[in-house]
C-alpha cells in the first residue's frame, strides 16, 4: 500500500517540482541566515572589543593619580622643576604634555624628560615612585605671581597645581 503511494508521488511531476523548490528556498534561507549570523557575530565581537578597550582605558585612567611634591622656579636659569609622585594604583604613568600658564598666556611642553629623584632618566613612574622633570620657560616668571601647571599623562589623565614664582 505504502509502496504504491510512493510510486504514485514520484510519477506525479507537479508535486516533485514543488518539493524541490521548497528545499532550494529553505536551503537558501538557511545559508543566508548563517551568513548574516557570522557577519553579525563579527560585528558584535568588534563592538565588544572596542567597548572593552574603551572601558579598560577609562579604568586605567581612573587608577592614575599624581601628587605634586614641589614646584620650584629657578629665577637665575628660568627653569621650572616639577616634582611628582605616582600615588595611584597603576604602574607606568608617563607624562605626555605639560602646560604652564597664568591668566593671560599658556606654554605647552611635549618632550618631557622624566627623571627619578636621583637623576636617573626614566620613561614612566611605577606605583609609589617619585620623579621630576625640568622645563625651560621662554620668558621669565614674575616674582610672587601665581602660575598653574597642568600635566597630561599618556593615558589622558589631567593633574593640576598652582605655584608662586
Amino acid at each position: 500500500m505504502k509502496l504504491k503511494k510512493a510510486t504514485k508521488l514520484l510519477r506525479n511531476k507537479c508535486a516533485v517540482s514543488a518539493v524541490i523548490s521548497s528545499v532550494i528556498l529553505t536551503g537558501a534561507v538557511i545559508a543566508v541566515s548563517f551568513v548574516v549570523l557570522v557577519w553579525a557575530q563579527y560585528r558584535s565581537e568588534s563592538y565588544n572589543e572596542q567597548y572593552g578597550e574603551a572601558i579598560d582605558s577609562d579604568i586605567a585612567r581612573l587608577k592614575e593619580r599624581l601628587a605634586f611634591e614641589y614646584v620650584f622656579y629657578d629665577r637665575s636659569g628660568g627653569n621650572l622643576k616639577v616634582y611628582i609622585m605616582n600615588c595611584g594604583t597603576i604602574n607606568d604613568v608617563t607624562v605626555q604634555t605639560v602646560y604652564v600658564s597664568n591668566d593671560t598666556w599658556t606654554y605647552s611642553f611635549s618632550s618631557i624628560s622624566l627623571k627619578f629623584l636621583d637623576d636617573t632618566p626614566t620613561e614612566s613612574l611605577s606605583k609609589g615612585s617619585e620623579g621630576y622633570f625640568s622645563l625651560s620657560l621662554p620668558t621669565p616668571l614674575t616674582s610672587k605671581a601665581i602660575y598653574h601647571v597642568k600635566i597630561v599623562t599618556g593615558r589622558g589623565s589631567i593633574f593640576e597645581t598652582t605655584f608662586i614664582a
Binding site: V29, V32, S33, N48, G52, I55, I59, A67, E69, E130
Partner: protein
C-alpha cells in the same frame, strides 16, 4: 460547526500548506540570531560596566581615604652643620587611617635652596599614633641662622606642612630674660676685607673667623634676628655700632658704625636706616669710623696679638618706641697679618 473545530481545521491547513514554510524558518532563525547577538552584547556591556563601576568605587574610596588623612607635624627645629640640615619634629596621626610618610622636603628660605630626604621606608603612623621625626637633608650652601620651611609627603599624596616651634619657646630657650629682642647668630659672625675703597671683598660670605687682622681695613658682618615677643619691627639707625675694647690695652678701642651694603658688596652712603621685621634675619655690616657715612677702619698695630671683646650697640626704634640694646659675648683675637 463548533468554534474549536474550526480553529483546529485552520491550523491543520497552515501546517499542511508548504507555501511560506521557508519564510517561517528564516524568520525564526533571524529572531534567534538577533536574540543571541543582543544577549551577547548586553551581557558583555553589563560586565564591562560592572568593571568600570568597581574602578570608580575604588577611586572614590582612595579619594575619601586621602581626604581623611590627618597628620599634624609640629615643633620643627632645624640644625645646620656643614650643609647638613637636621630636621626634628613631632608627628601625630589624628585621622582614622594608617599613614605612610614617604618623603621630607626642606627649603632654605633665605638662600632659595631645597632638597628632599628621598624615600622614607619605615615611617608609618597608626591611627592616633605619634612619633618623632629626626632626619637630615643635605642642602649645600645652607648655614646656621638661615630660615627653613619643610613639609612631608604621604603615601596617598598629601602634603603635610611642618609647623615651626612656637616663637615664644624659642625666645625662652635662646634669649635670657633682659637681653633684648635681637638675637645674634654667633656661628655666622664674619669679617670682610675690601676689594676697592667702597666695595667689600667676597660679600656676603666674608671670612667666618674670630681671628682678625690688624693694619688692614676691615668690616664686620653679623646676622641679627628680630625675636621681639610682641612682634614689632626693629629699625636700626646710623649710631648703631660695633665696638671693640682691649682689656690689656686700656684706652684702646675701635668703633665700626653700621653701613648699608648693596648686593654686590658696595657700601652705599649716606646711611639709610635698616628695618628688620619680626622673625626675619638680616646680615648687618659695621664698617665706618663715622656715623652715617663711610670712613674705613682698621685695627691699630698697637693691639696686635691681643684679645678683645666685641659689643654691638644697637640704637633705633622698635615699633613706635625707642630701642637700644647692647649685645656682648663675641671675643676676637687680633693678629699681625
Amino acid at each position: 460547526m463548533k468554534p474549536h473545530s474550526l480553529l483546529k481545521k485552520k491550523l491543520e491547513k497552515i501546517v499542511h500548506d508548504s507555501r511560506g514554510f521557508s519564510a517561517i524558518i528564516g524568520t525564526v532563525f533571524m529572531v534567534l540570531v538577533a536574540l543571541l547577538l543582543c544577549t551577547n552584547v548586553f551581557l558583555w556591556t553589563l560586565s564591562q560596566n560592572t568593571l568600570y563601576n568597581e574602578a570608580v568605587k575604588e577611586r572614590n574610596q582612595l579619594e575619601v581615604d586621602r581626604l581623611n588623612e590627618r597628620v599634624k607635624a609640629f615643633n620643627a627645629t632645624y640644625t645646620v652643620n656643614d650643609g647638613e640640615v637636621s630636621v626634628s619634629a613631632d608627628l601625630q596621626n589624628q585621622g582614622p587611617l594608617s599613614v605612610q610618610i614617604t618623603n621630607l622636603w626642606v627649603k632654605d628660605i633665605d638662600k632659595d635652596l631645597y632638597n628632599c630626604s628621598g624615600p622614607l621606608d619605615e615611617l608609618n603612623l597608626e591611627p592616633g599614633g605619634a612619633s618623632t621625626l629626626e632626619i637630615s637633608v643635605t642642602i649645600t650652601g645652607s648655614e646656621g641662622g638661615d630660615r627653613f620651611s619643610s613639609w612631608l609627603i604621604t603615601g596617598r599624596g598629601n602634603v603635610v606642612p611642618i609647623q615651626e616651634k612656637e616663637i615664644e619657646e624659642i625666645i625662652v630657650a635662646n634669649l635670657a630674660q633682659g637681653i633684648g629682642s635681637m638675637a645674634l647668630d654667633f656661628l655666622a659672625f664674619k669679617y670682610f676685607t675690601y676689594q676697592t675703597s667702597t666695595k667689600l671683598a667676597n660679600y656676603p660670605d666674608g671670612t667666618n673667623s674670630f681671628n682678625v687682622p690688624s693694619r688692614t681695613n676691615i668690616a664686620f658682618g653679623v646676622k641679627l634676628t628680630n625675636l621681639d615677643p610682641i612682634k614689632q619691627p626693629i629699625r636700626i639707625d646710623k649710631y648703631s655700632q660695633c665696638w671693640l675694647y682691649f682689656p690689656k690695652a686700656p684706652g684702646q678701642s675701635t668703633v665700626f658704625y653700621v653701613v648699608n651694603v648693596a648686593d654686590d658688596g658696595t657700601i652705599t652712603t649716606p646711611y639709610s636706616p635698616i628695618t628688620i621685621p619680626f622673625k626675619e634675619t638680616k646680615l648687618i655690616v659695621f664698617a665706618s669710623n663715622t656715623a652715617g657715612s663711610l670712613a674705613r677702619v682698621f685695627i691699630s698695630s698697637s693691639v696686635e696679638d691681643l684679645p678683645c671683646a666685641l659689643n654691638l650697640l644697637l640704637l633705633g626704634t622698635i615699633g613706635t618706641r625707642d630701642y637700644g640694646q647692647n649685645i656682648p659675648f663675641v671675643s676676637l683675637y687680633v693678629y699681625k697679618p
